[in-house]
Subunit: 179 residues, 2 copies
């Protein structure tokens, strides 16, 4: 299936408002609890999304355009949010995520990428050669994997509370899948 | 952990706006496609949530209050949305879901349930005796299981498009879990 950049941008544009509507008014029971030792809360996930806006997606896209396969992407720091979110409220993080995403999408649109530009190639530290198309599609799918994670983290808080219904709730059987 | 009804209501109140922000402005690539034969699209899921508002959660809660264990809940029709969503747009479904949820939460608040009321018992067609607490907690967790499902259905559309990154995206490894 051909990658339609406009579809990717549409999804990327919706995520901040969706997370804002889901999380902003919730009590901390839902947003600050995690799934156990060394796992993330919804608060942690929003911090991780912010770090991606700052260091991952657009910086890598610009690296592809400027250097192609000659320069390898920086390794993404999956724990940076622990440091960067300290002392902030969830509301502040949601605002910051929305602002950065909006800026990044304005910059992406400003690149006026043509269909053939999506085939440009860059170099990932683990995968080797990747295309700009794959990078930008992953930006959107990465939002979805973390929405998937947030719904699972929140459901985990009610694992006992739902009693026998846990058998009918797929999210309660989700093992996480991510490393 | 004690079930705080106010936390359940907070989550139930957020879901319609979260789904609206996520889905309303997306192209149909994201909202009308499913994960293959006999699976649901995001559109189908919103229809299913509507059917739950009409026939499942509050009708069952009221049955517990009125009849206790003496009357068994009606079996929930998991395919009703195929019929009931016909000819409607996703925008119409999102509006209908928001309206019904808002009405149901007003009715739930109006019951002024006390802590001890949550221990009242009803009869589920498969599980036998369940508590009002379990039923109401499941209403909220059911929102989360379907948010989990929607993020997975949408990610499925980019399974090929993300190239090698599929290995890093937990949502792409999610097998669905639900029957």
């Amino acid at each position: 299936m051909e990658h339609k950049l406009q579809h990717t941008i549409s999804l990327l544009a919706c995520t901040p408002a969706a997370l804002n509507a889901l999380l902003r008014d919730l009590p901390e029971t839902w947003t600050l609890r995690n799934e156990g030792e060394n796992t993330w809360s919804a608060f942690d996930v929003v911090g991780h999304l912010i770090h991606g806006e700052k260091t991952d997606w657009m910086p890598r896209a610009k690296m592809v355009l400027q250097f192609g396969e000659k320069r390898t992407f920086e390794v993404f720091d999956r724990l940076a949010q622990v440091r960067e979110s300290q002392g902030k409220s969830l509301g502040e993080l949601l605002d910051e995520f929305a602002r950065l995403r909006s800026q990044n999408l304005a910059e992406l649109r400003g690149l006026n990428l043509r269909r053939q530009d999506l085939e440009l190639r860059g170099r990932h530290p683990a995968f080797g050669v990747v295309t700009l198309s794959e990078l930008l599609a992953t930006w959107a799918a990465h939002d979805l994997t973390h929405l998937h994670q947030i719904s699972r983290i929140m459901a985990h808080q009610y694992r006992e509370t739902v009693g026998p219904w846990t058998a009918y709730l797929g999210v309660m059987q989700c093992a996480g899948h991510s490393s």
